[in-house]
Symmetry: C2
Subunit: 711 residues, 2 copies
């Protein structure tokens, strides 16, 4: 066991060479391979300033060092007219990722975004739940624009007269090489403020950049183990008795269930909210929590930020609220400690103290109508725009801290986040419901330090239902959200067994998933990841010529086709969901041999294969040499120690560092955790042999025994 | 004849009562019933500052006076954090119109907009070709936010804690009166600048407000008479000979034609542009212009703003251009007189001097990609955001002035405009192509001092083709734009005759239309108008209950249904287009009796009627007592004097002030125009008698004779 020491090391000031005018950028080293660059007069409140996060400098220091791929003088920053302008160089083959939770595109070069917290509106224009102003370049560096402002980004679209790599002017009609988007060699940014701080992260690989970014934000979150089980949100009008019936039904059907989510009407009033139990539906909330606890079920409560005059919090928090109301509810100014403390007190009294496990925090994202306008004023004098950009982050911070203070881990849902939230145990979700786009969001979440769930709500067909269930089980939060539709996992009887099967597969994967999340917490490696962060993966954007159309495509733009429907889970698994109507799909395998998860068969090597596993399976592939620790399918997350199945795939020898801890508290931060080395050797004849210290298993929190299975 | 005196009267300073801090608003009377209100430190460049427009104070003074419907203290303005915040009170039944060229909504209360010059992207979110920050209230006042900035507007959506008319907080589930959008009693605005000027216009009616607004901007434009004929834009690769053939074909088919539009490839290079004739397709441009002139055809040339290195303008204008290029072309800084003069010189030499009648000015609107980014810098130091908001206005101003300097009227097309352009003879258009939404834009254009054409390009069916042709003939610019599709008016043979019929109807309406445009120029009355500007019109927005849907409508919002598909043309005509697939439609008639334009039959009185005129007719209704002057259908706009048919509809006596002038020059501004009074009296028995001074007709430019026709 290794003791990780979390302190904030004094930052070494590396003086800035260039001071030609007041807005010359100041460079300052913030961690190994991390630099803060500031210019002008940055806002007091930024994306990170209010979150109380502590960079994990030790873990950052363990990442191999790499210089920035350009000189500091190539980064231009200046302040004009109360706006801050930034420019980064782009190389011809360079790719840019990140820049918010996009739903339709992974590569962001050639796009124009206005990063603005909002409900995603069907276009990758920057308005999204987590418009994190952080980009990762394929040249091996990344940049966070640490400003809580609506930030405009032109990613390789603007062409400067003084460019060193100018494109050639062409006549649209006579020259076949004319293009609607001439080559641009820079990425430009506009921050509507009189100064800003940016944080530059070095590589060498994109995964290193992402890791540095996450660790700088305090590392990734480690959810409680129960958080990785199956979640089910019940219809909003359900009573305690109806929920107990629902839980019983899950038990009877043998369907895994770890968390029950309650929707608005658990409260005396919602939209705006009291955060107090409705005495009609929940006459004895503490007893109800106790009943749930006995059945090994956690409860998660829906809330939104707006405070109802019908509740006891209203009068107390009123002095710390905005000029404007939302749904007639007060909007607390959560940059103020007073407002934070009042919320914590109220939550403790009504929820935490009786055993509620966490929250689903809705409507902190906007859609403009369901949020304060930017003309609102707040008692802390923080501009409304800035409050909007960090409101979801603040709500995550407050609830996380409240549970931390009790040494209890929480895991919940939230509809808005931003930079700096990777250590907060919250998963983003929304009302949008496109299965393919949900996968693209899952991929994009890994560049920007957030989690996303492609939650299942309803479906038109049993095929769609099953396909959605299959993917959600390979996401950070496997959830059926039946708040409005009253669906149940078995709502489509013809696929009920297959749905159960994939949910049980999720349960068996928990040792593997939990270790993957530990890698997020300790090393900053996202547990669910874009293929682009995987070594040996190559898939370039393909331009598809489309025909000119005076209305639909007047500039005769080629359509970009990119791979945005397959992703990595943990160290070894490649998941390639199928969608409704598909009998087969193409999968791009990175370099090396890959094996079918279910059969162990070799499926290919650094190539494009066609997957056609039938309706009942989601295509999952395993890297050569993978060691995968599994629970029995029937495992419940009730503290029982289960026998461990240790699978090995392929020809190469393999190792795995199995993580374990108590699964519930923050004691792991004090060193109370284990790393159990699993090892499989392969001799010249191909014979495999597994090795694990039995004493490790015996000392573990979660495992009773083990056996190796060689595929 | 009345001599209109255009001078800029010294403005009377009405001192501001309230000076409690440095950002107290300053009120200043700018004209009768018009006040300038400023606060903080307004930008030097605003929507009007660069346009050289002269308010028509005399004409404004003729509008009856009316106080503002609220006290000055009810308007709140303050500057905080380099942003300017404004608040206007809203009453419960108050309606708000205007706020840009919207395509889907007419009433703007309950909407949130960010007014931003852009290509319309399918949503009424403020990004549009003419995001004019001017609103008109049903309480009888209007406000222009005179700032060339991206302005956010919350129209009755923000609810303040300190509201005097606070809505009641309700529980979403248990209270049936819960609403997703609680009542708001204010209209709030955010200007991202450290000060601003707003201009407040009084009523009493909304039409009075609009008139004051237009007259303050110099009045409406009076197009040359030929501009009201039929326009046809030919495919981009057409040569001079092909155009001559096309013109011949129109003549042979007896189809009216006044203007031929040439698309990008008339130039040596386009995207970026040289503005110089392609010697292959147009070896003798002057001779070509002469040929067209002999056939009584004007030519209109497509351009976009970006200057090609292949042309002679490039080197000269380079010092006055932006840091960024678009399609590798220079972006002139047209706030600089040097750039304006260079463009004028170039246009004169290559176009005006050989007889070109005007331009279609494309791509000054954006779509972000086809425009400079906001990080661009300009040699005048005007911020890029401000330049974007007025670029279309500037291009209109430059070309208008160039023609004015030659005492020639022009009429053209442009893809961007803003406040202050009503006197510039340009009509907005775009690539969007929804017939219904095109009509809504036509309606909205009348609130904000711009013109819009629902141009016809192509259609899926002959029915759609005919329906589109029918509406475009009742718009400010009747045009078939075949640049990409190569369509001709007779492209659908089964409706070719009906298309010809409505085009000929357009020609016969020219005396009426031209007088209507004169009312725009002299009195500020939009020739094509929203019903809401019509006295006696009542049509409230209807809320249609729609069912809750967790994905599509999670807040269970009622759908707004409003009347946005009928409009007024001139003083007397109500036009209610039919759309593809419709056999009939409902039409809301304002108070008083209304008559069928074609038959003279009375169709109703202040009621909703069903129109089913068959495929060949567009429903047109005439107000009781209307006097409508008509040309023969076969009239050509070649200077020939035609006999006038003076129709009278209904029971009431009627008058009409028929306008006439030379149709081509600006001499009308020197008083060289006529107003010919047409009068029809009706005696007690219903007998009608027409009266017009024969000497007036004899002295006119356009009429040889007259006869009355009583319907």
């Amino acid at each position: 066991m290794k003791y990780i020491f979390y302190t904030y090391l004094a930052l070494v000031l590396v003086s800035c060479s260039n001071n030609k005018n007041s807005s010359s950028p100041r460079w300052e080293q913030a961690a190994r391979g991390v630099w803060k660059v500031s210019v002008g007069d940055p806002d007091k409140v930024n994306l990170l300033s209010e979150l109380n996060i502590v960079p994990n400098l030790d873990a950052i220091a363990e990442i191999r060092e790499s210089p920035l791929p350009f000189g500091r003088e190539e980064v231009e920053i200046e302040v004009v007219d109360n706006r801050t302008f930034l420019r980064f160089p782009l190389e011809e083959s360079e790719k840019i990722f990140g820049l918010g939770l996009n739903f339709k595109t992974v590569e962001q070069r050639d796009r124009i975004l206005r990063l603005h917290v909002d409900h995603y509106g069907g276009r990758d224009d920057g308005r999204t739940h987590a418009p994190v102003p952080f980009f990762v370049s394929s040249r091996g560096y990344g940049v966070l624009i640490n400003a809580a402002r609506y930030i405009d980004v032109w990613v390789g679209t603007g062409v400067r007269k003084d460019s060193e790599h100018p494109p050639v002017a062409r006549d649209r009609n006579s020259d076949l090489d004319w293009t609607a988007k001439p080559y641009s060699d820079n990425l430009e940014i506009l921050i509507p403020a009189g100064g800003a701080e940016v944080i530059v992260f070095s590589g060498p690989t994109m995964l290193d950049v992402v890791r540095r970014f996450n660790l700088y934000n305090g590392g990734g979150c480690l959810p409680p183990k129960w958080g990785l089980g199956f979640w089910h949100r019940v219809p909003t009008l359900y009573t305690d008795k109806e929920i107990e019936e629902e839980v019983k039904e899950f038990e009877e059907k043998g369907f895994p269930l770890s968390v029950i989510g309650l929707e608005p009407d658990w409260m005396t009033a919602a939209y705006p909210c009291t955060y107090e139990w409705d005495p009609g539906r929940f006459p004895e909330p503490a007893a109800f929590q106790q009943t749930m606890k006995e059945r090994n079920i956690r409860t998660n409560l829906w809330i939104n930020p707006y405070i109802s005059p019908q509740g006891e919090l209203y009068d107390k928090i009123e002095p710390y609220t905005s000029s404007h109301t939302v749904w007639c509810g007060l909007v607390p100014d959560y940059t103020m400690p007073q407002a934070q403390d009042l919320l914590k007190q109220h939550f403790r009294k009504h929820q935490l103290d009786i055993g509620v496990s966490g929250y689903k925090m809705d409507e902190n994202d906007g859609y403009d109508f369901w949020l304060w306008p930017d003309v609102a004023t707040f008692p802390s004098h923080t501009p409304a725009e800035q409050i909007r950009q960090i409101y979801g982050s603040l709500m995550q911070k407050i609830t996380t801290e409240m549970y931390e203070e009790e040494n209890i881990r929480t895991y919940g849902l939230v509809r808005a986040g931003n930079a700096g939230t990777s250590s907060f145990p919250f998963v983003l979700y929304n009302d949008y419901y496109n299965h393919r786009d949900f996968i693209t969001a899952l991929i994009n979440s890994s560049f920007i330090g957030v989690f996303w769930t492609p939650e299942v709500r309803a479906s038109h067909t049993s095929e769609e239902w099953l396909r959605r269930m299959q993917t959600v089980c390979f996401s950070p939060l496997a959830m059926l959200n039946a708040w409005a539709d009253g669906t149940k996992p078995w709502s489509f009887p013809d696929v009920a067994e297959q749905v159960n099967e994939v949910a049980r597969l999720r349960m068996s994967l928990i040792p593997y998933l939990y270790s993957s999340f530990a890698d997020y917490a300790f090393k900053g490696i996202p547990p669910v990841r874009a293929m682009n962060l995987e070594e040996g993966y190559r898939a370039d954007v393909v331009l598809k010529e489309v025909s000119f159309d005076a209305t639909a495509n007047p500039y005769a733009m080629a359509l970009k086709q990119e791979v945005k429907d397959q992703f990595m889970v943990g160290e070894y698994l490649l998941v390639a969901p199928l969608f409704e109507g598909e009998k087969e799909r193409q999968v791009i395998l990175p370099q090396g041999k890959w094996y079918d998860f279910y059969t162990g068969e070799c499926v290919g090597e650094g190539e494009v294969i066609t997957a056609s596993p039938g309706l009942s399976k989601i295509p999952v592939y395993v890297k050569d040499g993978a060691v995968i620790p599994l629970y029995p399918e029937t495992a419940k997350l009730d503290g029982t120690k289960y026998p461990l199945e240790i699978r090995h795939y392929g020809e190469k020898p393999g190792t795995y560092s199995l993580y374990d801890d108590d699964g519930e508290s923050y004691n792991y931060r004090k060193g109370e955790y284990m790393r159990i080395p699993l090892e499989v050797s392969v001799d010249a004849s191909g014979k495999k042999e597994g090795k694990v210290e039995t004493s490790d298993i015996e000392r573990s929190w979660s495992f009773s025994d083990y056996r190796f299975v060689f595929y």
